[in-house]
Subunit: 387 residues, 2 copies
């Protein structure tokens, strides 16, 4: 009995958190955005999607398993990714007659996130980036990360930014076919390696409208949104690229917080209004303002995706000032138990001023855990296979 | 000993709640707004400022007492009102040599609100309208409400809309001296008398930035605000006037809720962001949406001023549908004990669907009382004097 011919490849892919936000599609089918966006890729040591793609002549159908659950693979978004990747594989096979005919085999994809899918941590971005990257490894495609981003984008818009590390921009693009709506590296993680992120994960609350539906409601009904997309964001894209090139945290902080608030303002201006920020989020914002005010400069910047979790960016030098402050308030929550969390000295609680106490109490009630992480690199090929 | 010559006049003045919001000044000194606004004057049977203005040769200084507390009368805003009213009185005295020389006497103003000043119920609007109206009565000025509105506006912008009953618009005006920035009647209360308002008063919470400072922060820093002021509001002003003329509640509801959300979106887009809506407000919004959805039409409209209180407008015919629904949720709070509140049949709690229960619980925790009221008339002269 011959051993079965199974081909497989595995990857880790990172989460990214935008600092100039993607919200709104000009083409919902191709996931073409109304405006560009910029994100920070977070370290896979902390948050990652781990995906194995395999194919074999014996497989009878494409399949996708996510965190142990069989998922529907027939959706248009996943199918678009598989179709494009198979097409690229066929080009490889056409040029090399010895290359095995993988494009015709069925795919088995198994994926696991090391963070709760429902936590609102851009799991679909990491997930689709990992899916595309794993299959590209399996197919031995020579395709560049930017070209792969065009494919991942069709799975989940923000996934295109998870195919590279460091600081990544997603070009809005002008063409109808989306060929120029791709992600590119603004700077690698090594350019500004001391960027840290503290994620304040909000207690599970019934989530408001999902982002796919929500953003199109905004496009259809907000009277402010087009102004954001056409006037506000383009200027910020340039300014944010410059802030990253210059390692100018003051500018980075001002742009990220303003853009987060601007995006949530457009959500509120949607009909019916969409609320992702809750009282806990608001408290986190106030506390960030208080930290900055106490230090008389921007030591931290907050940003919120389509959910109540605060992502607080700061530089390694300010870890005590920022993470130490939050450790004093929510040091009893899970997330501090690692080596890095333990090394952070909690601030003295006695420093809390009047207004802070109210916010601190809200945070204490509304936060379920924290995640300590920072800027990281792009997808890594791994030899640990999930199937 | 001759009896002392004391002149006095008293008035009640109403609260108004805008449905197209005033936010932002193009001239902070004259309280000239960046955009027009429209409000509903609420019944003085429920909410009112009661003010007595008196003057006498023996008075040695102008004084103002609000709810039993001496207030500073030397502020530029109050002084502007007194100066203009005295100027008009001088014109009266110049034309009638028998008219007593009141303009030269010091003024004693005593004012009482029948609602908590801190409740965020536009107390300054009612207060300044009552102050101006009481002095105008005292001085026997022939001035029209619209001309008085020009004076009251300098005390508190939205006060200009409390000098008339029913449905009142405040013209943005174009002139630098503010002479055309006045309030006018869109329609009297009798035109559409069945407009009701249920106010859900939020439990006292530390208020965010006050409106005077907040609106100028928005003007200075929001990237969306000018678009609101120049593009969004002007169209809504026309549409809202039409909705009122046509007694078209569906249009009235759509415009009020959208404009409230648009205003709060601009607050969120302010740097630093301003939050007036909290989780209780958000719950009230969701419940209003659910009521409308259940009835397949807009039976209610919500609007929020610079605070977390929801003002829910509805028509008398829908009192059971709207007020009865909220009575089922917060019927144990103060505010239902009057004749009208008792007559409202609370809805069956069993009708609550899943999402409603979460919102209902938030409302139960976050609401301290309700106020049942409706559209009402303009300031009334009264003979009950406070001094």
């Amino acid at each position: 009995m011959a051993a079965e011919e199974i081909h497989r490849a595995s990857t880790h892919a990172p989460v990214n958190i935008a600092v100039i936000k993607y919200w709104g599609k000009r083409d919902p089918k191709l996931n073409l955005p109304t405006n560009g966006s910029i994100s920070v890729t977070l370290s896979q040591d902390d948050l990652r999607s781990h995906t194995t793609a395999s194919c074999a002549p014996s497989f009878t159908g494409d399949s996708l398993t996510l965190n142990g659950q069989a998922e529907d693979i027939s959706g248009a978004r996943t199918q678009a990714c598989l179709r494009e990747l198979r097409q690229l594989r066929r080009e490889v096979e056409a040029q090399d007659s010895h290359a095995p005919k993988l494009a015709d085999m069925k795919l088995k994809i198994v994926s696991e996130n090391n963070f709760p899918t429902a936590a609102g941590l851009a799991s679909s971005a990491a997930g689709f980036a990992a899916l595309v990257r794993a299959i590209a490894f399996l197919y031995q495609l020579p395709t560049s990360p930017t070209d792969l981003s065009r494919i991942a984008r069709q799975g989940s818009g923000s996934a295109c930014r998870s195919l590279q590390g460091g600081y990544v921009a997603w070009n809005k693009g002008e063409k109808d076919d989306g060929s120029d709506s791709v992600a590119y590296e603004v700077a690698p993680a090594s350019h500004w390696p001391d960027m840290r992120a503290l994620i304040l994960v909000a207690s599970s609350d019934k989530k408001d409208v999902g982002s796919t539906a929500g953003m199109q409601q905004t496009v259809a009904s907000s009277t402010l949104f087009q102004h954001r997309a056409n006037e506000v964001v383009p200027k910020r894209m340039h300014a944010m690229e410059k802030a990253i090139h210059d390692r100018d945290f003051e500018a980075f902080a001002a742009l990220s917080t303003k853009d987060s608030n601007n995006f949530h303002a457009c959500c509120l201006d949607t009909d019916p209004p969409i609320f992702y920020l809750n009282d806990t989020s608001r408290a986190a914002i106030r506390l960030c303002e208080m930290i900055n005010s106490r230090h008389d400069r921007s030591v931290c910047a907050y940003t919120f995706d389509a959910g109540p979790n605060a992502v607080v960016y700061y530089l390694a030098n300010d870890e005590e000032a920022v993470a130490g402050y939050f450790k004093a308030l929510v040091g009893d929550k899970p997330g501090w138990e690692g080596k890095r969390g333990q090394a952070i000295q909690a601030a003295q609680k006695s420093v809390l001023a009047g207004g802070e106490e109210v916010a601190a109490k809200l945070l204490q009630t509304g936060i379920s855990r924290v995640i300590l992480t920072g800027v990281g690199d792009g997808p890594r090929r791994v030899e640990e296979h999930l199937c």
